[in-house]
């Protein structure tokens, strides 16, 4: 039950941690870690969010139901990200599966050449994917 009154000291401590984390996120942004930069930046942001939610927003002292509600929001957001990206991330897969050299005029030589190409491509594909 949120009759719980959080002490001022806790608030100050959280505030200071948030400031430190803000500084940290700026600092690490200038170090090159490749794609890890994003991971670190987001982890710090999630950590900051957690601090705000738990202490400033008192979730730590609240009933289970509110945890459930907050969690549902986050989970639904993830559903939206995941399923939308399932489209964008996999668009290229099929393209490479069906995009094969296609001759404009289906002449005989072209067809034989094509067959060879395809065989070569297939063994290449097999090599590339496994």
């Amino acid at each position: 039950m949120s009759h719980h009154v959080v002490g001022i000291k806790v608030y100050i401590a959280i505030f200071l941690s948030l400031m430190v984390l803000t500084g940290l996120t700026v600092w690490v942004a200038f170090i090159n870690w490749g794609f890890m930069n994003d991971v670190v930046a987001m982890s710090i942001a999630v950590l900051k969010m957690t601090l705000v939610v738990l202490f400033f927003m008192h979730l730590k002292y609240q009933a289970r139901l509110l945890w459930l509600i907050a969690g549902a929001g986050v989970i639904w957001l993830m559903i939206m990200f995941a399923l939308t990206l399932s489209d964008y991330r996999s668009r290229e897969w099929i393209e490479s599966a069906f995009t094969r050299p296609v001759p404009w005029v289906a002449s005989e030589e072209a067809a034989t050449y094509q067959a060879e190409q395809m065989k070569a491509q297939e063994s290449e594909d097999a090599g590339a994917h496994h």
Partner: protein, 215 residues
């Protein structure tokens, strides 16, 4: 109805605790709708960022880290003052309530002021998407896409801040009248939750917009 009804207990509730729980639950439900609201923008952001990483980096480099960082600090500080305002209400301290709500409002205005400065700089640099947009080089159109998201996301965030300022003005007046005390502080708490949420959105916007590929 009955004499057990204090004046701050609305007619539909049976007792104060029920009313308090209802309002807390209501605001949390509202906040998840807000998560989904901003979520739509974040989805678009992710999709396009993975499509055009260079443009996103280039766009991000046009933003001012100093101003963005300063604003982040301002907003976090305002979250602290907001939390302290709720605390003041919980311990029935009227003077501090007024003080901290006012401080929160001022910090919010500082944030918005800095935003205005940033926006006008973008305007001068022709970085507002649309016919006047100009970005040298060939990735210009995609940088424009970055700025579309920059403006829509920070714009929506700013709209939330402005609404917050309005609600807080109302809160300030009532706090000054001494409406809130240890037995009844839901409005302060509810507004606080909203304000913290707006802060959280910014916590994500800051690295996602200002800090891409800075190395």
């Amino acid at each position: 109805m009955s004499d057990s009804h204090p004046s701050h207990l609305a007619h539909q509730f049976d007792h104060v605790e029920q009313q308090r729980q209802a309002s807390t639950m209501g605001i949390w439900l509202f906040l998840i709708t807000e998560i989904m609201f901003f979520g739509g923008l974040f989805t678009g952001y992710i999709v396009y960022r993975t499509m055009y990483p260079e443009a996103w980096t280039a766009g991000s480099h046009e933003l001012d880290i100093a101003l963005g960082g300063f604003n982040t600090a301002v907003l976090i500080f305002s979250s602290l003052t907001m939390a302290l305002a709720v605390h003041a209400a919980q311990v029935s301290n009227r003077r501090n309530q007024v003080l901290f709500i006012a401080a929160t409002m001022i910090l919010g205005l500082v944030f918005l002021g800095v935003k205005v400065v940033e926006y006008s700089a973008k305007f001068e640099h022709h970085l507002i998407p649309g016919p006047n947009f100009h970005f040298p080089g060939d990735i210009g159109t995609h940088v424009q896409l970055f700025f579309s998201f920059y403006f829509t996301m920070t714009g929506m965030h700013a709209v939330h801040m402005i609404i917050g300022e309005g609600i807080m003005l109302w809160l300030l007046i009532n706090a000054a009248k001494g409406r809130y005390h240890k037995d009844y502080y839901n409005p302060v708490e509810v507004v606080g939750l909203y304000w913290h949420f707006v802060d959280i959105v910014w916590i994500f916007l800051f690295p996602l917009l200002y800090l891409i590929g800075r190395h």
